[in-house]
């Protein structure tokens, strides 16, 4: 059920990406925040340490990222919408508990403001190197929902969306921002009200993990008479352990993955530009979209039929929609601030096209001119 929540804070303002994220979390109903300071996400925990008390929530600075992730899962079962924010190394520490969140079907939001890695890497520089960690970081088979904002406005909007999706699908949702978006100050328009997903927790239910047709279980909280067992082991609809039963375990894994893959159409969020007659296509996500957009416009000015696809939810991979939009396009360029990760997914999806990876390492974003150059080069090749 979507409910309108008044923000009491509407208007245009210039704020930082991390602040926009924290403010959106409060508007989305987040009433528990646990975290550990880490560059470049620290502004979120700083903002929350004040804002959450003002909104009658609970804040705790934990001893590490592991316990921060654990605490938000614990708090969610206590009935409070919860969030944590971190960056690369902290996100790595959270992976085990993130897997627990997936298996126990706990709706929480994890913000990862990406920085350069591996290890300590480049704490103050941006990257998009964590996209596979977001999807495959914890062990075992599971699916995750992951959003990539490309502006401060989207940092606000996607945080609210992340909370709504986590409640709707009863699963952890990752907001995969990066240092550029986190630290950038931009004009944001805060609406007078936002729509937030709220499910009434079921009371005295014997089968709290019974699934609806979308494979999503009931909303359950502690202390509602359900006598629920929240398990890290695989469990059936009653919450009983089934880890020792091969058939039922397989079924459980199917359920937690299918509740995301079967609803992939609903979880697809793609924007596109000049795609109708495009011959060369850029596919981008996150902050790189900004350069890609400029580069496409420059190419158009020069008469090259370039187009852009911007992916807002990178996981689950919107395979069908990308194929529908770009299956016929000959040349596809995938600019990313990593060694070329998402382009592998695109290659798998667009088998007929020439997929070119445009990696950028070192912490700087692609210059629009760099991308325009690649577009021009490819255009020249295709005219030959």
């Amino acid at each position: 059920m979507l409910r309108k929540e008044v923000t009491e804070n509407e208007g245009e303002k210039v704020i930082q990406g991390n602040e926009a994220c924290a403010e959106a979390a409060i508007h989305a109903g987040c009433r528990f925040f646990a975290g550990y300071p880490i560059t470049p996400s620290t502004e979120i925990i700083e903002y929350m340490s004040e804002a959450i008390f003002k909104n009658d929530g609970m804040f705790i600075q934990m001893e590490d990222e592991i316990s921060a992730m654990c605490a938000i899962i614990g708090a969610r079962w206590g009935g409070k919408k919860s969030m944590t924010a971190t960056s690369g190394p902290g996100f790595t520490l959270m992976q085990e508990a993130l897997g627990y969140g997936v298996v126990s079907e706990t709706p929480v939001v994890v913000v990862n403001v990406q920085r350069g890695g591996p290890a300590t890497g480049q704490p103050t520089f941006s990257s998009q190197q964590d996209i596979y960690q977001a999807k495959y970081g914890s062990h075992g088979d599971y699916e995750i929902i992951c959003l990539t904002p490309s502006s401060v406005q989207e940092m606000y909007d996607f945080t609210i969306k992340a909370f709504n999706l986590s409640e709707q699908y009863r699963t952890p949702v990752i907001l995969l921002a990066d240092e550029i978006i986190g630290h950038m100050r931009e004009r944001v328009s805060i609406p007078d009200s936002v729509e937030i997903e709220e499910k009434e927790a079921i009371e005295k239910c014997d089968e709290p993990f019974r699934r609806d047709k979308n494979h999503v279980p009931y909303a359950v909280d502690f202390f509602k008479g359900c006598n629920i067992l929240v398990e890290g082991q695989l469990h059936d609809e009653k919450g009983r352990r089934i880890g020792h039963l091969a058939d039922k375990s397989g079924q459980f894994i199917q359920n937690i993955t299918r509740k995301i893959t079967d609803n992939c159409a609903e979880l697809t969020d793609i924007r596109h530009m000049y795609i109708e007659d495009a011959e060369i296509l850029l596919i981008a996500y996150g902050s790189v979209v900004r350069s890609a957009e400029r580069a496409v416009k420059t190419a158009r000015e020069k008469g090259i039929k370039a187009g852009l696809i911007k992916i807002n939810i990178i996981w689950p991979f919107p395979e069908k929609e990308i194929f529908r939009l770009a299956g016929h396009i000959k040349t596809v360029i995938v600019p990313e601030m990593n060694m070329g990760k998402y382009c592998r997914e695109i290659e798998r999806c667009l088998k007929q096209s020439k997929v070119i990876s445009a990696p950028k390492l070192g912490g700087n974003i692609h210059q629009p001119s760099e991308l325009a150059e690649i577009i021009e080069k490819e255009a020249a090749l295709s005219y030959e």
Binding site: F32, C70, R76, N227, L229, R240
Partner: protein, 269 residues
């Protein structure tokens, strides 16, 4: 089956997974008696980590969270902060609490958050098959210390108290009534309570530490090698293990209370 346990235990999940003569069942009994005496079944949730001891709460007909290795206290802190009026009991073992989860113990004790930690110390990693734990005595030959353990064992109560736990006691499975009373007091205590239970593991510790498979004889051995005291001296020289209710500090403020006062103050300003 015991008539009181029928009210608390999910009968369909019986028998317990524990080995014959395991002390975990005794600790579970003591905890159930304590909850019954306080009459707080519906306002209590249990959290546990990984290990033999952490399999205690899944049998309970209550709200239970069986979490990941070492992090039970962190989950419990989140749960407690979101529901400050409820009672949270953490079941953990010597490896879960003092090895992988040591950091969380220190910080929860430091915060003096109102949760009750029951640490069952069987001196060994039982579930994985008898490897050295942080409390394994020196020279004990385990699966991972085939020539005898060389590292000094940790004293859980000492660690918890020095970190700032405001309630601390230690009993054995051979003192079930004292244990029940300690758990009862620990739950009622408004602050971080740490209760260590020395327990018998007749299978793994029995093989490598006590050289004795009879659970009752191990219980007696632990009892004989311990002494009941009410005062905790840091400079303790004797060989015997100290048992008793060591600490109950009531003047230190509890963490959730502090936050609630802070929020009230913020509203007034």
């Amino acid at each position: 089956m015991n008539s009181l346990l029928e009210k608390y235990i999910k009968k369909e999940s019986l028998p317990y997974i524990f080995c014959p003569g395991c002390g975990n069942g005794i600790v579970l009994n003591a905890m159930i008696y304590a909850i019954e005496a306080l009459g707080i079944k519906d306002d209590t949730a249990c959290v546990s980590g990984i290990g033999c001891s952490s399999w205690i709460p899944p049998y309970l007909n209550m709200d239970v969270m069986h979490t990941i290795h070492g992090r039970a206290i962190a989950f419990a802190e989140g749960l407690k902060l979101s529901q400050p009026d409820k009672n949270i009991i953490v079941f953990t073992g010597d490896g879960d609490c003092l090895a992988i989860g040591g950091n969380h113990l220190l910080h929860a004790a430091k915060r003096n958050i109102n949760i009750t930690v029951i640490m069952i110390n069987n001196y060994i990693y039982g579930m994985t098959g008898g490897q050295k734990s942080p409390t394994t005595p020196i020279d004990a030959k385990t699966k991972t210390s085939p020539y005898g353990a060389i590292d000094n064992p940790i004293d859980g109560c000492g660690v918890a108290m020095s970190a700032g736990a405001t309630f601390c006691s230690r009993w054995t499975t051979g003192h079930p009534n004292q244990l029940k009373k300690a758990i009862q007091e620990g739950i009622a205590h408004n602050g971080f309570s740490f209760i260590e239970v020395l327990s018998q593991c007749p299978v793994q510790a029995g093989k490598s530490i006590f050289k004795e498979r009879d659970p009752w004889k191990i219980i007696q051995y632990i009892r004989k090698n311990s002494t009941i005291t009410s005062v905790w001296e840091d400079e303790y020289k004797e060989d015997k293990i100290r048992l008793g209710n060591f600490k109950k500090e009531t003047d230190k403020r509890e963490y959730c209370e502090k936050i609630i006062t802070l929020k009230k103050r913020m509203k007034q300003e």
